[in-house]
């Protein structure tokens, strides 16, 4: 079932947050942040997870990294289900999965020097010490395009793009197999975004990394990803090879997202192409989560949840109308 090439395989993963009310904190319901998602990432590939805010993409990533407890499901990393592992067993896995965070300002400890920030993972796992450690930090800094002379400086002395490079160096310190990139460029300036995206691509080639790349920007995801999955309110609504998905989007939500991207073509847009508003996770009906905004949904969609089905080879979507 597991072909050898698959590095990460997620099956029916659910992360529900209880809504607690009252004095006794009784659970009155759940926010289904991640609701039954399945996908797999072949080693060396980049898997793009796209969705708007509140779609559960960050929660999914943090659940996979075991930072948030999963409600149900299985996450196979290198063929081994990591969800039931205890903290002590998890430490080995933590070396192989690392995260690049969104906010380059809050993701680096402001009281630590760049050198000690990058050294932390190596120290925690007792991999290197002394001059060997410093040597490794210097190499890492140079790999991400910074000078080794910055080792003793502090995060606040760097710009956003440079800080993100430091975050990447820290993520690579333990030579991980899987790097989860959680919106790594969305907080950066336009001219810096492309630098970081190129850097991530170069590093992938150099260290044969596998990426789980999370973003809300479809054009960024298209550039970096091999496979793309679109999430909406905790579910994957469409999944396909990047080229296929962008050429032939099937799900109405994917189409909506693609049409909403402002194109750098100077002609006045007609305001008639309006887009229906988003609903929150709590307001969804019994049927298709996208029903409230869907231009083609009908009565049947409002009562039944469409399953994620293969509509063409390697192209799955969750819509009755396709």
């Amino acid at each position: 079932m597991n072909d050898n090439n698959t590095l990460l395989k997620v099956e029916n993963l659910k992360t529900w947050f209880p809504i607690k009310k009252g004095l006794l904190r009784k659970t009155v319901g759940y926010v289904r942040a991640v609701d039954d998602i399945s996908f797999q990432i072949p080693a060396g590939n980049t898997f793009g997870l796209v969705g708007e805010s509140g779609s559960g993409k960050t929660t999914a990533a943090r659940t996979i990294a075991r930072l948030i407890p999963a409600t149900a499901g299985r996450v196979y990393f290198d063929g081994k289900n990591i969800l039931p592992l205890r903290q002590s067993e998890l430490r080995k896995i933590r070396k192989d999965i690392s995260i690049v965070f969104q906010d380059p300002y809050s993701s680096l400890n402001p009281r630590m020097t760049i050198g000690s920030i990058i050294a932390e993972p190596l120290k925690v796992h007792k991999i290197a010490a002394g001059s060997e450690l410093i040597g490794r930090i210097a190499i890492l800094l140079e790999k991400v395009g910074l000078s080794a002379s910055h080792i003793n400086r502090y995060p606040h002395e760097f710009s956003g793009g440079q800080r993100q490079r430091i975050g990447i160096a820290r993520a690579l310190a333990l030579e991980p197999k899987l790097v989860i990139c959680d919106e790594p460029v969305s907080a950066l300036d336009v001219s810096i975004q492309s630098q970081i995206l190129n850097l991530l691509k170069d590093l992938q080639e150099q260290f044969s990394l596998t990426y789980l790349f999370i973003a809300h920007d479809l054009s960024v995801v298209e550039f970096i990803s091999d496979i793309v999955a679109v999430m909406y309110l905790g579910k994957i609504v469409e999944i396909a090879q990047a080229s296929v998905l962008y050429e032939n989007p099937l799900h109405p939500y994917t189409k909506l997202l693609l049409s909403a991207i402002p194109k750098p073509v100077p002609e006045r847009k007609k305001p008639s192409e309006s887009v229906p508003a988003a609903v929150s996770a709590a307001e969804t009906c019994a049927g298709c989560p996208f029903f409230g905004r869907c231009p083609i949904g009908d009565d049947f969609c409002s009562k039944n949840v469409p399953p994620l089905e293969e509509k063409a080879t390697g192209h799955k979507t969750a819509c009755f109308k396709v």
Binding site: R62, A65, L67, L90, R91, R94, K95, I97, S98, I99, F101, Q102, D103, S106, S107, L108, N109, P110, R111, M112, T113, I114, E120, P121, V124, H125, S131, E132, I134, G135, R136, A138, I139, S147, A148, S149, H150, I151, N152, R153, Y154, H156, E157, G167, R170, A173, L174
Partner: protein, 316 residues
Amino acid sequence: MNKTKEKNVPMIKGRSYWADSLRQLRKHKLAMYSLSIIVVYILVVMFIYLASWTKTDVSFLDWNQTVGKGYEKPNKQNVLGTDFLGRSVLRKTIYGARVSLTVAFWASIISMLIGVPLGAAAGYFRGFIDDIVVWIYTTLSSIPYILLILAFALVLRDKTLNLNWLGLDAISLSGISTVYLAIGLTSWVDICRLIRAETMKHKQREYILAALSYGCSNSRIIFRHLLPNVFHLIIISFSLRFVGFIQAEVILSFLGLGEKNSPSWGSMIDAARLDLPKGYWWEMTAATAAIFLISLALNIFGDALRDSLDPKLKVQ
């Protein structure tokens, strides 16, 4: 190969927040004057201890000596006058710094030692531990503060603390240690609350998530990542609450629960209270001025410290 590389690269020294803050603080003239006043007080107290350990007789520290008639007005010989036994008010005031500062120092240390770990643990682990800590401090803080200190002071007075289980000698509690124990044990609530709130805030930051993601243990996260980020709050609170502790000691001594065998500002005020209507104003004035000066200096310095240390108040 690594080694050669590392030697070739000229290291650029970074500017830490601490260095930045100190530079800013040094520019604050008033704060520097205040600091020098505080240092003078501390030096005086250290000198008193040094003299008593080495059994050196220093005449102006001999507060018990009769230097004149009773109730002598401030004059050339006795700059601040004398008390009812003819002892020098100046010497008493100087010697009084010992009790005040010792009490405030140990009370601060005790309240930090209780408040900081509890606050950090509650804020970091949340859940059950948080519930217990919050329960304890809300209970404590719902009792009127003075009454609580009084209760502790009365219970602890003239007791012997058996510390054998800690591998230490037994400590008999006498005046001064009763006072700082009572104050310290009752006043950790504020700092605990502060550290708890700040820890909770920092726990949400991505750098803590990052530390968790590469397998950092909880204790390492607390000590290496969280505490350095809230440490400035501990220092600020130390300097600002020091004043409160000095005053608490005065109140306790005034109420007769403080140190009895040597002068303190509180017992001086207590003694002078009855003399004041008779026109003997100097003892009261001297003690009050001593308190006022250190309180003012500590407040100004504490505020300046807060301005320079707190990154929230930094102008970008």
